[in-house]
């Protein structure tokens, strides 16, 4: 299961996609909307995606994981639209007979999502809004009078 959705994510449902009789280990990553980033307070986020490509990139990450760690199963769901503080933005579940593989494959998934999958978040702060600029969240493309300063 690799999906982009606009409704709340059921973590339980995502985990159930990968649980099976011969997977002793299931590692799940859940990314939620954080209220404070340093001193800045987020009110809510708006996620947008290039949906068709984002879905196929998620599948491809899943495929890469199954090639690198053959006994794993993977499910990834990312939510878009308006998300409030505490809402689940992404859930990644990986099952494996071996816990080390499950941790590593899960980590691989989130790192690649943050670099490659065409999804963007616009932070709405108490003092403005901006598109978060890159996957490491160190660069911000601040909107000023309609023209981004890069």
């Amino acid at each position: 299961m690799f999906d982009i959705v606009t409704t709340p994510i059921s973590i339980d449902h995502v985990m159930k996609q990968v649980m099976h009789h011969n997977a002793g280990a299931v590692v799940t990553f859940v990314g939620t909307v954080r209220e404070m980033t340093g001193e800045k307070q987020t009110l809510y986020l708006q996620y947008e995606a290039y949906e068709s490509m984002a879905r196929s990139m998620l599948s491809r990450i899943g495929k890469e994981i199954r090639e690198k760690w053959p006994d794993t199963r993977v499910a990834i769901v990312h939510r878009i639209g308006r998300l409030e503080i505490g809402d689940v933005a992404v859930a990644i579940a990986v099952s494996s007979p071996h816990r080390q593989d499950a941790y590593e494959a899960n980590r691989y998934a989130i790192e690649h999502i943050k670099k490659l999958v065409p999804i963007w978040k616009k932070e709405h702060w108490t003092d403005g809004k901006l598109w978060v600029g890159n996957q490491t969240e160190t660069v911000s493309f601040k909107e000023r009078g309609g023209v981004a300063r890069l």
Binding site: M53, I119, K122, W131, G146, A148
Partner: protein, 76 residues
């Protein structure tokens, strides 16, 4: 005809999520330069996907392609 898709801050700046360009032989690098000249946004950190596959600067764009201008992603 080439369809160009814009997202996030690029969409906000241009004020459109889609542009149509008459077909002309051009590379990804050429397109980036045209976009930069016309719409005054930096394309240094922008990745380009042709028909939903990431493309390199030297890749050629063909008639009928859907080209996405992808600013740094921030999902997860």
């Amino acid at each position: 005809m080439i369809r160009i898709l814009l997202f996030a801050q690029l969409k906000d700046q241009v004020g459109e999520n889609k542009l149509l360009l008459d077909y002309q032989p051009l590379s990804v690098a050429d397109l980036k330069k045209q976009m930069q000249d016309r719409y005054k946004f930096q394309t240094k950190d922008v990745m380009v996907a042709i028909n939903e596959e990431y493309a390199a600067d030297y890749d050629m764009i063909h008639d009928g392609d859907v080209v996405a201008m992808i600013p740094p992603v921030s999902g997860g």
